[in-house]
Amino acid sequence: MKGEDLYSHAQVTWCPGCGNFGVRYALREALLELDRDGIPVENVVIVTGIGQHGKMFDFMNINGFYGLHGRTIPIAAGIHIANPDLRVICIAGDGDCYAEGLEHLVFGAKRNLDITVLVHDNRVYGLTTGQYTPTSPFRFRGRSTPDGSREHPFNPLELVLTSGATFIGRGYSRRQEQLKDLIREAVLHRGFSFIDILQICVTYNDMTEYYNSHIYDWDQDDLGDFEAACRKAREWDYDTEAPIGLGLMYRSGKETFEELCPVPEQLKPGERAALVRKIMDERR
């Protein structure tokens, strides 16, 4: 398989320079590596939200469910519960996953669902033309907040860590090699894998310079240490000036939801009829 095979023929409609190009590239490369490593691409399903991130559905040439704004995770849960052989990747947005559908993120982590969630965190509603999101900095001037927003952002890494996620990382759309590795590892991880991707939105929230001058790579020595993960997560609160760590932040082992709820082999028609007969007979 070649990289090109993983891109669809659909015309790409992101703005020139949009960070989503980088994410797409990283995703494609990760899928290629996974394919080589024995996870064939037809076993992968992406579930996308509604937003610029969601267009990944059209631009990739892999199985996909283009869902609703904010609802990638329950859809992915359903797909994976029904067929745990599939590798399900949510392509979510920050408006999508941190505002409209935040509850599902917490519950996905809580259950340790064996899926991967990539949040294209451009810290703005891109497709609806630039309103503030839960990760926009305080006083963000967008179309709904011309005088600056009145909310401090929350910290998604801290939130999913608290909620029980077992694989947590942060990527950057301009660090595609690292992002590719993160995605590959996330898909391979058994349990809830979460990557907040600092994705550049050149049109509404171009943080390139800021990120370039603040990022560094987390050391990877203490990945299983919850306290260390807390510290890493809190170093930058998405609001005030601080170094921005990139890479894998936390990884731990825990029984997954799917392991706790194994798929039973379905009854055969005859067995089903016999069961119904039995239920009926017990009531007369």
Binding site: E42, N43, I50, Y66, I75, A76, A82
Partner: protein, 552 residues
Amino acid sequence: MMESEVSVLVGGPAGAGISSAGQVVAQLLGRLGYRVHMYLDYPSRIKGGHNFAVIRGSGGQPGAIREKMDFLLALNQETVGLHRHNLAADGVIVYDAGEVKNTSGIAVAIREILAEEDAPAVMGNSAILGAFARAAGIGWNLFEDVLRLSIPKAVALNLAVARRAYDAAEEHERVPVLDRPVFPVFSGNEAIGIGLIEGELANYFSYPMSPTSNIMHFLAGLQEEAKIRVFQPESEIAVVLMALGCAYSGTRAAVGTSGGGYCLMTEAISLAGVAELPLMIVLGQRTGPSTGLATYTAQGDLYFALNGGHGEFPRLVAAPGDAEEARAWAVAGMDLSWKFQVPAILLADKVVCEGMFSLDPDKILKRRQETPSAESNSPYHRYALTGSGISPLRFPPVKGEVIRVNSHVHDTDGITTEDPELTRAMAEKRWKKERILEGEIEEMDPVNILGARESSTALLCWGSSKWACHEAGEKNGLRVVQPVVLSPFPEKGFARAMDGIDRIITVETNETGQLSRFIREFGYHPDDTILKYDGRPFTVEELDTRVKEAVS
């Protein structure tokens, strides 16, 4: 006692097992050859207050209760206070002597019996049941048999309690045994659960909500045996989207809720519509708007069931009038929803869901399985524009194929488009499916004709008003027409059922006469509307009176 008719009311505080007691009575009458219906009335509380169950056995199928009771089983004073006027002239009160004062009938010394057997207070209902069995002339062996099946825990102790009461009571009037095959008795919720299993359910998702929570409870207890999974996620939004995820993966799922939860599901119903994903929703109506009366009934959501979700797309809406129909249309809903890749809504209400009904185990519609499409499958086009509008379904993983479903307007591969021609073509594809679905529906007896078939006046009803109408129809010589399927509306079947009708009276438990308005779309103009909107179903007598007023 009227011929082939017996009515029993059991009343007591919440937590005293009134529902179980009622079920035992229902089961008993069932074993005596009666067709049975039970209506359960309870406020939204767990302990105390006043609950009551009315169980009616009849030679014909009863699906509504009568006002006069042959037996009044009273575990508290309220039962007598509130329902004494419901006692038939030759009826009897069987009561807890320690709780109920100033009454006559068969007193049961429950407190003493429990003390003697060292049994907990909750077994008081076994005592009253024992006394009832004796009063109704039911043999101990049959009674013991039924009690054993119905009461799973502490069987021996319950039996001992019941036996004491049985022995201490006297026979009031023997309930005659009917010489008819014994049908099992199920709640509508249980019947729906059975139907879903027959419809090849793999996953059931639900967030608790009256009156459908018991579908979840029933199926949860069957998980092992039926090889299904039951899961209760964080909200109805998650519920319905998990079901759609399963559909994409190729396994059947269903969900259950009531109006408030359905509100939260509408966005996903619309998604199922455009993405052409099968989806089975049981919508149990209760008294609205909003939280309304959480444990009472209504038929207030017909239009919402038909129109919930933005944009336009075909859907199946079937409104069963009893447990038998609920089971049948649960199966059909699963099958048709998969075959046509449309959302299906089983529109029930509290009376159907939580009421109990005898059902004929063999009364089941012919299965409507997916017919494998003759059209070529490779390269795969998820939204291939076929002659029928139905595209072949495949599920990941398929080597070499990409399987896409999309909430946007899309091309045949599922890729988003904004093209006007494709927009139109995909819309027309979806309505093509509907025409074919309607054709299949027409073959499935989607409209019931009951009552006095020869009449030129129709009582028109839907859902749980079915049997009250049937009785009023028989009594007053009126034809009863009950469309079971509301969408796609079986115009042909309905026209046949309405053949020769020159006067239409609609009967609904809602405020605005929704069916009455709805059928105007098809050119039928009701002359009268009988509505009830206090959370309670029509009794046989009440509807009879209202019908007489209307036709007079």
